[in-house]
């Protein structure tokens, strides 16, 4: 029974996609019910797999149409779910469910919502299929559906010229990536005469040929495009900005996680190339470039969503760096950061969406003082911002710590100075991330409220709910990091290092042993930097201090809402004695000193992001060529 769950979850989403188009294009209630039901049921189906796979350690394999392997050769399309798949599937499910809830209120003023939900469900289904499948070509098909749906959703608000332009760029770069993946898959088939990942893994174990090296290079490039590492990131920034925010959240929460998943699955499981120092160095360098360029571009943005888009790119840099290290700690950190990225970046996109919904703009120079109008959104935003900057009680801290620890341990072990420099970059990027979120905090949520936003209202509850859920998850993942590591990360890490079980349950007992695949048991990461007790005591201190202040501080806050005190100069902002007036330090004015010192760098960088689709494609193709060449030169 349970082995039908994964495929049912995928099928259900695709089925619902068509049902929405048939029945729901006119009626909003039917549409919402179908979409939400499908999302919920398929999420429940996936969550039902948690016990057998993550806790009992089973691997579920499923053959489409019962085309089981014949004499050790896989001939059908197989779905295979181990802890690694399921980890990503859970992220995907959580993301599309929350996004679906959020969409209902957020999108209700748009037209053609039938198409929206169709595409949304297709996107969800394809990403879910991508992470659950055990077949390389099926993976490619899912990537294509994903790209197709993403492009259509990016250009969904097609009355905006930006959306169309972003959709087109996304399509071009995305297709280049898909073509590379397809070429890689083709070469892999030519080498192994099978498309099943487990079998390819068994065949390729320890026997890399030039063809498979080429295939690995192409596939890394292909998934690099899907996870938007620099220099493939250019369309991502545009697409995240212009897509409806519920979709931006899906993009950063699951579409680029699909790329990360593909990268891990291919490098760790299928090719088992994670112990090759050239692959490690390549991924780490690309990751470092991604995080640095992403964050420095984000610092100059003055559009809320575009800023978040560049941060999304930057955080994926951390993930790629961490998984590129090929060590257990690195992969744990990478997976944890991927999960945290889904949580906090989804949360931040939702708050951006809430700001857009409430004020009609995401331009940071035009908003301000929203924290008094939208307290829930502001609180959620702060949680997300602190999480992404890695401040201690939140989840970003634990995962970033693992990334640094893995990087610097590797640097000390291998004596390679490059890794030490990457550690420095990672630490600096963290503070720059904080800086750009401070910019948003100051210019959107704090500061002064412009006159035209005086009537701003908090968003409806169905939009608040996903934000609150994600904020709570952010804090919980930071506090109960040990449970997360034990029940989610460690099984996934074990699954990606130990493929015997994966291969055996797919192809048949003994295949792995015959191919010479071995198991290395990975122990849970030993955390010792955190003692929840300390925090408990600290809260006591805080309350004691607050009590002290309340007792002796003589708080004298007038009731500012009353008319006579509203004009009381005592509670007005200090303007060197002038009458209070609107004066907001807007987003683009912040960090002037920094930008002045970095003028030359920004000139080059902004020049590279020139918006020309030809230049973007050239960058992408050159990078792909570099990846393939590096593979060839250094893998031998």
């Amino acid at each position: 029974m349970i082995q039908h769950f994964p495929v049912a979850a995928v099928m259900l989403l695709f089925l619902a996609a068509f049902l929405v188009e048939i029945f729901g294009s006119k009626n909003a209630v039917v549409r919402n019910v179908i979409a939400l039901e499908a999302a919920t049921i398929s999420a429940v189906l996936i969550f039902a797999l948690v016990k057998p796979i993550l806790i009992d350690g089973q691997v579920i394999s499923y053959w489409m149409g019962n085309w089981a392997p014949v004499s050790g050769y896989a001939i059908g399309i197989g779905y295979e779910i181990d802890a690694l798949n399921l980890f990503f599937a859970l992220l995907v499910c959580a993301t599309f469910w929350l996004s679906c809830v959020y969409s209902i209120a957020y999108m209700k003023n748009d037209r053609h919502l039938g198409h929206y939900y169709t595409l949304f469900l297709m996107l969800s289904g394809s990403v879910l299929g991508l992470v659950l499948t055990g077949d390389v070509f099926n993976m490619f098909v899912m990537i294509e559906i994903m790209t197709f749906a993403s492009v259509a959703l990016t250009a969904f608000r097609n009355d905006s010229d930006f959306a169309l332009e972003a959709g087109f760029k996304y399509l071009v770069i995305g297709s280049i990536g898909s073509s590379m993946t397809l070429a890689g898959v083709a070469l892999l088939y030519g080498q192994c005469h099978t498309l099943n990942m487990a079998q390819i893994s068994a065949i390729l174990a320890g026997r890399m040929t030039p063809t498979s090296i080429m295939a690995l290079g192409l596939i890394i490039a292909g998934f690099g495009v899907k996870s938007y590492i620099v220099p493939f990131h250019t369309p991502a920034a545009d697409a995240y900005t212009t897509a409806p925010t519920s979709i931006s959240m899906v993009f950063s929460g699951m579409v680029n996680k699909a790329g990360v998943y593909g990268m891990i699955r291919m490098v760790y499981v299928v090719f088992r190339a994670m112990d090759k120092s050239s692959v490690q160095m390549l991924l780490v360098l690309f990751g470092a470039a991604t995080m640095f360029i992403g964050v420095t571009m984000a610092l100059t943005q003055h559009d809320f969503k575009r800023l978040l888009a560049f941060h999304s790119i930057s955080q994926i840099g951390y993930v790629i760096t961490a998984i590129g290290l090929g060590s257990a700690l690195g992969l744990t950190g990478g997976l944890f950061h991927a999960m945290n990225h889904t949580l906090f970046k989804g949360l931040l996109f939702l708050t951006a969406g809430a700001v857009l919904y409430a004020t009609g703009t995401t331009n940071l120079d035009k908003v301000g003082g929203l924290s008094k109008k939208m307290p829930v959104t502001a609180a959620c935003f702060l949680v997300g911002a602190f999480s992404i900057s890695g401040l201690p009680p939140f989840n970003g801290f634990a995962s970033k710590w693992m990334v640094y620890q893995a990087l610097y341990t590797r640097a000390m072990e291998s004596g390679n100075f490059v890794y030490a420099l990457v550690t420095v970059v990672a630490l600096i990027v963290s503070v720059m991330t904080l800086a750009s979120f401070i910019k948003v905090t100051q210019s959107a949520f704090f500061g002064q409220c412009p006159a035209e936003l005086k009537d701003t209202k908090e968003v409806p509850f169905s939009m608040q709910l996903p934000m609150i859920i994600m904020a709570v998850l952010c804090v919980a993942a930071g506090i109960f990091y040990k449970a997360v590591d034990k029940f989610l990360l460690n099984p996934a890490v074990n699954a990606s290092f130990n493929v015997t079980k994966y291969v055996d349950s797919m192809i048949g007992e003994g295949t792995a042993a015959a191919a010479g695949l071995e198991n290395i048991l990975v122990n849970p990461v030993e955390f010792s930097f955190w003692n929840p007790l300390v925090w408990l005591v600290l809260f006591v201190i805080v309350f004691a201090a607050i009590a002290l202040v309340i007792l002796y501080g003589n708080f004298a806050r007038g009731k500012v809402l009353e008319p006579d005190t509203a004009n009381d100069a005592k509670y007005a902002t200090f303007f060197s004695g002038e009458q209070e007036e609107f004066s907001q330090v807007a987003g683009s004015d912040l960090f002037w000193g920094f930008k002045k010192d970095w003028k030359g760098y920004y000139k080059v960088l902004v020049g590279l992001h020139n918006g020309n689709v030809n230049d973007y494609s050239t960058m992408a193709i050159i990078a792909a060529a570099v990846i393939v060449l590096c593979m060839f030169i250094f893998m031998r």
């Binding site: 002796y552 003589n554 004298a556 100069a569 005592k570 007005a572 200090f574 060197s576 004695g577 002038e578």
Partner: protein, 148 residues
């Protein structure tokens, strides 16, 4: 006990905010002289702050020109309690040589309660020191009154 400590320390650390309401700069220079090594008001804890929100003692110099009057009153309102107002030099007290001018609205007492007046054109730094010290004592009295 803590209350006594608070009362005592309000005298020991009076922070000054200085408002120039059209002064000729003579008094301003003398006020700065008070903080220089020769007179060193910091040994009593005096410190110049940049914003009225931090201030305990507001030092007003100049004859209150009509342009600055509104700003002066608004800034004085923004100082948290307990606070002391010190008028520095003869100008804020009487208008001095500017008295009778169409643009001078001199006595500061018309707008706000002045606790200490330091007379002179310009007052000597020693006089300013004494005035500020008296203001600090008044500050402590006000602080004690706040508890009742």
């Amino acid at each position: 006990m803590l209350k006594e400590l608070l009362n005592k320390s309000s005298m020991k650390s009076p922070w000054i905010y200085h408002i120039n309401s059209g002064s000729c700069n003579g008094c301003d220079i003398e006020l700065v002289a008070v903080l220089t090594p020769r007179y060193d008001a910091e040994r009593f804890g005096f410190k110049l702050t940049g914003t009225p929100r931090h201030a305990d003692i507001v030092v007003v110099s100049g004859p209150i020109t009509s342009q600055s009057k509104e700003r002066l009153v608004r800034t004085l309102a923004q100082v948290p309690e307990p606070k002391c107002v010190v008028s520095l030099g003869s100008c804020p007290k009487s208008g001095n040589v500017f008295k009778g001018s169409y643009s001078v609205e001199a006595p500061l007492d018309n707008y706000v309660h002045v606790d200490v007046s330091v007379a002179g054109c310009t007052p000597k730094p020693e006089a300013i020191m004494e005035g500020l010290y008296k203001a600090a004592q008044i500050l402590q009295e006000k602080r004690e009154a706040m508890n009742k």
